[in-house]
């Protein structure tokens, strides 16, 4: 069930209506039932994986908390890690490993090309696996007490607004909200509805409009002019941002209607002035997860310069692989790892101090140049993200720089319009650091904005285009 589907349009009010009249404990049971229904809409068989993961992690967390011996705690942790990562490896990466094994065999003359089991990856498995993993690791580290109630923990794992595409919530933030009484005030409803509206606007108006053109350009890059390929690259940057941040906005908005606050996942990332800043603003819950549970345990920046670069690279490569079982995602992660390493090297040298700009105008110009540079560097890596495979990504990139075909500047009208539409929303959020600042605008402006967004959504809605991040 997509957030932008008619089914969800009926599902949400029905769930809310019952939710509001129940007691806290009954509300949690009701939300679990609703979440299982929401998830089972795709394929009810995969519910068994969530229930298995929930049950094992609940039991293991209590075992870890009760154990006095470090070895027993470790045993519990390893059990949880093996189960969760095992499920992820089996259902998401099995086909990838088999294909590469066959390809490797072929290079040394061995024919493994026999019929193999093909598994369909369950929706959102990467998200809920990381969420439960962080819980178990935090319990092991003594930073989180285990959930008292199985019901509460089950809701922490399956809470439907964030189940399939995040934000990846920490137990320390979400569990206390689940364990206590919720109050939904008028303000929460207003902000919740506003977030849903803006999320739908980003999805339907920005992402889906860009998506139609992106599909065409990426379908046959060899037939496109270089200008079209540049256009496709920029449009995909807008599409993936509109799609994912739109989803996150809707998830937060829906959750507010239940009186539960979810983390902000996007902090105007395309205004980043460095790649490091970009990763503090893009998919915040994933980058924080990778930092806390991968980069720092690997040693972070505490074990010398070479190891710091290695850790950065490893973290981003694994981050890339988390997104999908394909070499293109690994290369995408590799690029970001390299960008981060280069930026770190730049910061540690004294060169950036020498290049510092004085004067307001020069500094502003310089900052905008940095923003543009980071945006294009990031957009470039999205090619690996979007292309059907690694070879097509390389073809696309060679086309970008071949400067072939005609330069029909009218074709950049759509990206320009989409940028103009998105810019004020992003700028407002960037300047005040809070999307809710829109609500402090005069009533007239807000009313015009709401009506404009609402009508645009109606006019541009048609097909229920799935959210890109649901596939991860």
């Amino acid at each position: 069930m997509w957030f932008n589907s008619w089914e969800f349009f009926l599902f949400l009010p029905a769930v809310l209506a019952v939710y509001y009249v129940l007691t806290r404990r009954a509300q949690n049971i009701w939300l679990i039932a609703a979440s299982y229904f929401f998830y089972g809409w795709w394929d009810w068989r995969f519910l068994s994986l969530i229930i298995l993961s929930t049950t094992v992690d609940y039991l293991v967390s209590h075992y870890i908390a009760r154990s006095q011996v470090e070895a027993q705690k470790k045993l519990g942790l390893y059990l949880s890690l093996s189960l969760n990562l095992g499920l992820l490896a089996t259902f998401k990466y099995f086909n990838f490993f088999v294909d590469n094994f066959i390809a490797l065999g072929a290079t040394i003359g061995l024919d493994f090309d026999t019929p193999v089991l093909r598994l369909l990856p369950p929706v959102g498995i990467s998200f809920y696996t990381f969420q439960t993993l962080s819980y178990t690791i935090d319990v092991y580290r003594g930073r989180q007490r285990p959930a008292d109630s199985y019901i509460d923990f089950a809701l922490f794992v399956t809470y439907f607004p964030q189940l399939v595409a995040g934000p990846i919530e920490r137990a320390s933030k979400l569990l206390p909200q689940i364990e206590s009484k919720r109050h939904v005030s008028v303000w929460m409803i207003q902000t919740g509805v506003f977030l849903i509206l803006i999320g739908l606007f980003k999805k339907v108006v920005i992402a889906d409009t860009a998506g139609v053109r992106v599909d065409k350009i990426f379908a046959d890059p060899a037939a496109m002019s270089s200008l079209d390929l540049w256009r496709g690259m920029i449009l995909f940057s807008l599409q993936i941002y509109g799609d994912f941040s739109g989803y996150s906005n809707i998830a937060r908005g829906v959750s507010r209607l239940f009186g539960i606050e979810l983390s902000e996942n996007f902090l105007t990332p395309y205004f980043s002035k460095s790649i490091t800043e970009f990763w503090r603003r893009w998919h915040v819950s994933l980058s924080a997860w990778l930092r806390d549970y991968l980069y720092i345990p690997l040693g972070g920046n505490r074990k010398g310069t070479v190891n710091t670069y290695r850790n950065l690279m490893l973290t981003m490569l694994i981050g890339g692989f988390w997104h999908g079982a394909s070499w293109a995602f690994i290369v995408w992660g590799g690029f970001h790892g390299a960008y981060l390493a280069i930026h770190k090297f730049w910061l540690e040298s004294n060169w950036h101090l020498k290049s510092g700009q004085s004067g307001v105008i020069r500094r502003t110009v310089f900052n905008w140049l940095k923003i543009l540079l980071v945006f294009h560097l990031v957009s470039f890596t999205w090619i690996f993200f979007r292309a059907s495979d690694f070879a097509s990504a390389l073809d696309y990139i060679s086309g970008l720089f071949s400067f072939r075909g005609d330069f029909n500047f009218r074709s950049i009208a759509v990206p320009a319009i989409l940028l103009m539409v998105l810019f004020p929303i992003e700028w407002m959020q960037y300047r005040k650091d809070d999307l809710m600042n829109f609500l402090s605008l005069p009533s007239l402006i807000r009313g015009v904005m709401y009506a404009g967004m609402f009508v645009s959504i109606i006019l541009l809605s048609g097909n229920e285009v799935p959210f890109i991040y649901f596939q991860f």
Binding site: G447, I458, L459
Partner: protein, 325 residues
């Protein structure tokens, strides 16, 4: 408002917050603007126009309604607009009657579709209403063309609408009454072209679409036929389905004008003919040969559709050809 707040408030839902009104100024301005837009649309649009929705849904509704009202259908024509426009059932029935065959035929052609969506539309819309004794599948090169992306996309959209649950369909039906929603396709067209492009339902008698005599635009096409492609497979499945219901099936190559025949290479023309022959052989059905009936190019209003008069003549001569055999 206080009264409503007190009704809907609960321990969780607290609508009675001091100093905060559930209806903000922004919300009210928004409602007002939407109301103005709705009233404005109703004032601007002439009453006779109905929204075309995601597809020619009014036309299809009219067509389905006509079929519902018929008692027994002997022959049903299936296909795209090439079927719907070029074969008026009235002319077909009257010519058959002169040869001593009292028939009641119906045209179930669906505009703008390839055979994937014709198969879906026929199965979900027309067959539940009437199961005819015979179905004549009108198959033109454009109906099996795997190279026309826009038709393929449109067809997929159309097929998707059949997967909607009934409650979703009902919900859309309710929203359709709002002009801003119902006429969204027309509003989008207007924003781009500054013209109101309405597509009235052209349904004539017995499902026939009458396009009149006005010449229409002509386009360039590329063709690609795939014997094992999705469209041919869907057509083949449609034939299987009809035969499993005990309905006789025949194929008639659809009309195209000279420009389309020229656009197709010899290989493409042969490929198309081979696909039809193989389908006929595989399902043991009749493949009508009616090349001698193809009207001159000036009888076409575009590359696929005959003018009203020529369509009546073509349908009559088709009936003669079929029933004289």
């Amino acid at each position: 408002m206080k009264f409503l707040s007190s009704i809907f408030s609960s321990e969780t839902l607290r609508l009675k917050d001091v100093g905060v009104s559930p209806l903000t100024g922004g919300f009210l301005v928004c409602l007002l603007l939407l109301a103005i837009a709705e009233v404005g649309m109703r004032a601007v649009l002439p009453e006779s126009h109905k929204p075309r929705g995601s597809w020619h849904n009014l036309e299809l509704r009219d067509q389905a309604e006509q079929l519902r009202e018929m008692k027994d259908v002997d022959v049903m024509f299936a296909g795209s607009s090439i079927a719907a426009v070029n074969i008026p059932p009235v002319a077909f029935d009257s010519a058959a009657s002169e040869l001593g065959y009292e028939l009641d035929s119906f045209n179930a052609g669906i505009r703008g579709c390839n055979y994937s969506c014709i198969a879906a539309g026929f199965k979900h819309m027309f067959l539940p209403l009437q199961e005819p004794k015979k179905v004549i599948l009108i198959v033109a090169p454009v109906d099996l063309n795997e190279a026309n992306e826009s038709v393929i996309r449109r067809s997929e959209d159309f097929i998707r609408t059949f997967n909607n649950e009934s409650y979703v369909a009902a919900l859309i039906d309710v929203f359709r009454h709002l002009y801003v929603f119902g006429f969204r396709a027309e509003i989008k067209d207007f924003i781009v072209s500054q013209k109101w492009n309405f597509e009235p339902s052209l349904i004539g008698e017995k499902g026939h679409i009458d396009m009149g005599y006005e010449p229409r635009n002509r386009y360039q096409y590329k063709f690609r036929f795939e014997e094992k492609g999705r469209i041919v497979k869907d057509l083949s499945r449609m034939i299987d389905d009809l035969q499993s219901r005990g309905i006789k099936v025949a194929i008639l190559p659809g009309l195209v004008d000279g420009s389309i025949r020229e656009m197709m290479s010899k290989e493409e023309t042969d490929e198309f003919a081979i696909i039809l022959s193989k389908l006929a052989k595989k399902h043991e059905i009749e493949l009508y040969r009616a090349d001698d009936l193809v009207p001159d190019d000036e009888k076409f209003i575009d590359q696929f559709h005959l003018n009203t008069g020529a369509a009546h003549k073509y349908a009559a001569s088709l009936a003669e050809k079929i029933y004289k055999q």
